[in-house]
């Protein structure tokens, strides 16, 4: 039984992220594979302030355990999430 903290996913609901396609990310929970939903916590947040860096063009942003995903799509977020979950599993094996 994994005792690790749930992976925190924060979807930015800021206006910039929203206008540049963030609305698609609203369905993220529905697209999470069933076997990992208990390992992930999806939250929404007001503007994360990430859009200021690149002149708005890399929005929408999603944070996966504080790591930003730019030009985020459900697929990109799931990719990073999978990477993080796998590395968590890797840590557990090492500690044995």
């Amino acid at each position: 039984m994994l005792n690790h903290k749930k992976i925190q996913i924060k979807i930015c609901l800021g206006t910039t992220c929203h206008v540049l396609g963030g609305a698609e990310l609203q369905n993220l929970e529905a697209d999470l594979p069933e076997n990992i939903t208990h390992l992930v916590e999806v939250r929404r947040s007001n503007c994360l302030g990430l859009c200021k860096n690149h002149k708005n063009m890399k929005a929408p942003y999603v944070l996966v355990d504080e790591q930003p995903v730019s030009e985020a799509s459900v697929v990109k977020v799931l990719d990073l999430l999978t990477e993080k979950l796998l590395s968590q599993l890797g840590d557990k094996d090492d500690s044995k």
């Binding site: 206006t15 929203h18 206008v19 540049l20 609305a23 698609e24 369905n27 708005n56 063009m57 799509s73």
Partner: protein
């Protein structure tokens, strides 16, 4: 309705950048750099090369500036066009949807195509079922001869490996009225005599080749002037952002609008008149709604037999604009719209001066760094009117039903105009429907599924239903 694909993103990026340049006071100086900013050398190109990408971006910028796009071989001076736009009170030409030939990938005519999943099987069911002998064997695999193929689709159904696919021309596939087609010069062309301005081709084109003109420059100029500019916002706006209606109104205020009037105001009048009209029609007769301009255009250009059946009641936009014109002297009236069709309706409406789509509004908000969720609205009038439902399929019928007296309403809801529904409606001219009220909305789901929205229709719909229920609960608790 998909809000996130790269064609739509690019369009919005260009719009946002142009708004930013305008707000910085450097539109003419900065616009020539725009293609380079969006496609810097180190990035990958979307098409054959960075240079082609940049060229197309220049053309797209023209449409955002409200200028004619250039399909002929002549030089394009963005700086000059920007200067012209800044001096004009209106867009150049009209609001017709056009195909930007540079961007059009010239999709191969719709066809049936054998993929390499074909196993060159013994059964040859494809060949055996083809009524025109259009399938030949080539190097052990089946191949469809385009010359002989009549697009019947039998081969697709027959193949046991599903190796045969139907490859559509997306814009033609989605156009309900056959308005977009290849012309004699071999170019994709939108026939203005057939186009109903529904915007479906614009959303469907995977290359973003269908462009619309914006009057965003004109509206931004006015907002900076001393004139009072009043926003008339469509009911669908309320579901677009995760914010209270009062916050939306506050955001509009921050953009410079003197005030924001919900179009549900005019919708109440539409309901009143439409219910009256419906109660006066003869037994056995039927009437259709008139608030969707793409529907009205469909009737005008393709279903003339329906003309008499369309309600004579004006649209909520019209009544609201009329009210504002009568009560706010000298104000400029800007309708905030979920779609392009309203731009056309507004051209012929005395009371509406400009139309801004949700996409255009969103771009302005982003350019000004206005966070709708952080705006604080005045809490006085958070009341959501019943007519909020107008932007949801079935909502207009519901409101009319609730209003009408002494008449039973038997409604038929046409949720989205597509090729199938146009054929269905054509039959109704010969065989009248059993129902007496037909509500027609061009966009699936209603206006929340409009071609220029910034939020998923399912989410907007849920949001609006939440707000309506909350408002109803509040009214009930007060009573």
């Amino acid at each position: 309705m998909i809000v996130n694909n790269n064609a739509i993103r690019l369009k919005r990026q260009i719009m946002i950048r142009i708004c930013e340049l305008f707000y910085e006071g450097r539109l003419t100086e900065g616009i020539e750099l725009l293609p380079y900013e969006l496609r810097p050398r180190e990035n990958d190109s979307t098409r054959c090369c960075i240079y082609f990408d940049r060229e197309i971006i220049k053309h797209r910028s023209l449409a955002v500036l409200g200028r004619h796009i250039v399909n002929e071989d002549r030089p394009l001076r963005l700086k000059d066009e920007a200067a012209e736009s800044l001096q004009s009170d209106n867009i150049e030409g009209d609001y017709s949807l056009e195909v930007l030939q540079q961007a059009c990938a010239g999709c191969v005519r719709k066809r049936y195509f054998v993929t390499n999943a074909c196993r060159g099987c013994l059964a040859r069911t494809c060949m055996m079922n083809c009524p025109k002998n259009a399938i030949e064997m080539n190097d052990g695999k089946a191949m469809v001869s385009e010359k002989k193929c009549i697009n019947c689709g039998k081969c697709l159904s027959a193949c046991p490996y599903h190796a045969i696919v139907y490859v559509p021309v997306p814009c033609e596939e989605v156009c309900p009225v056959g308005a977009i087609d290849r012309n004699s010069q071999g170019e994709q062309f939108i026939d203005p005599g057939k186009c109903i301005y529904c915007g479906k081709c614009m959303v469907a084109c995977p290359f973003g080749a269908v462009v619309e003109k914006s009057s965003i420059i004109q509206v931004m100029k006015l907002l900076e002037s001393d004139k009072p500019i009043i926003a008339l916002y469509a009911p669908a706006l309320v579901g677009q952002f995760k914010a209270e209606p009062s916050q939306l109104v506050a955001a509009l205020g921050e953009l410079g609008f003197a005030s924001a009037i919900p179009v549900t105001l005019g919708a109440a009048k539409t309901v009143e008149h439409e219910a009256q009209e419906l109660s006066e029609i003869e037994e056995g007769d039927f009437m259709t709604s008139s608030c969707c301009p793409a529907w009205v255009e469909t009737v005008h250009k393709h279903l003339p037999e329906f003309k008499e059946k369309v309600s004579k009641t004006a649209t909520p936009m019209h009544y609201t604009a009329e009210y504002v014109a009568e009560n706010f002297d000298d104000a400029v009236r800007v309708f905030i719209s979920p779609c392009i069709a309203k731009k056309h309706e507004a051209v012929n409406d005395l009371f509406v001066d400009y139309v801004l789509t949700f996409e255009e509004l969103g771009s302005m908000l982003v350019a000004r760094d206005i966070e709708v969720e952080n705006c604080t609205g005045q809490l006085i009038d958070n009341e959501i009117a019943n007519e909020q439902k107008f932007c949801l399929s079935g909502g207009v019928a519901e409101c009319v039903k609730a209003e009408i007296v002494n008449t039973e309403v038997n409604e038929r809801i046409i949720n989205g105009i597509d090729k199938k529904t146009v054929r269905l409606l054509k039959t109704m001219t010969k065989i009248p429907p059993d129902e007496n009220f037909i509500e027609v909305m061009s966009c699936r789901g209603g206006c929340v599924g409009g071609c220029s929205v910034v939020s998923y229709d399912r989410i907007s719909k849920r949001r609006i239903q939440e707000l309506t229920e909350l408002a109803q609960a509040e009214t009930e608790s007060i009573n």
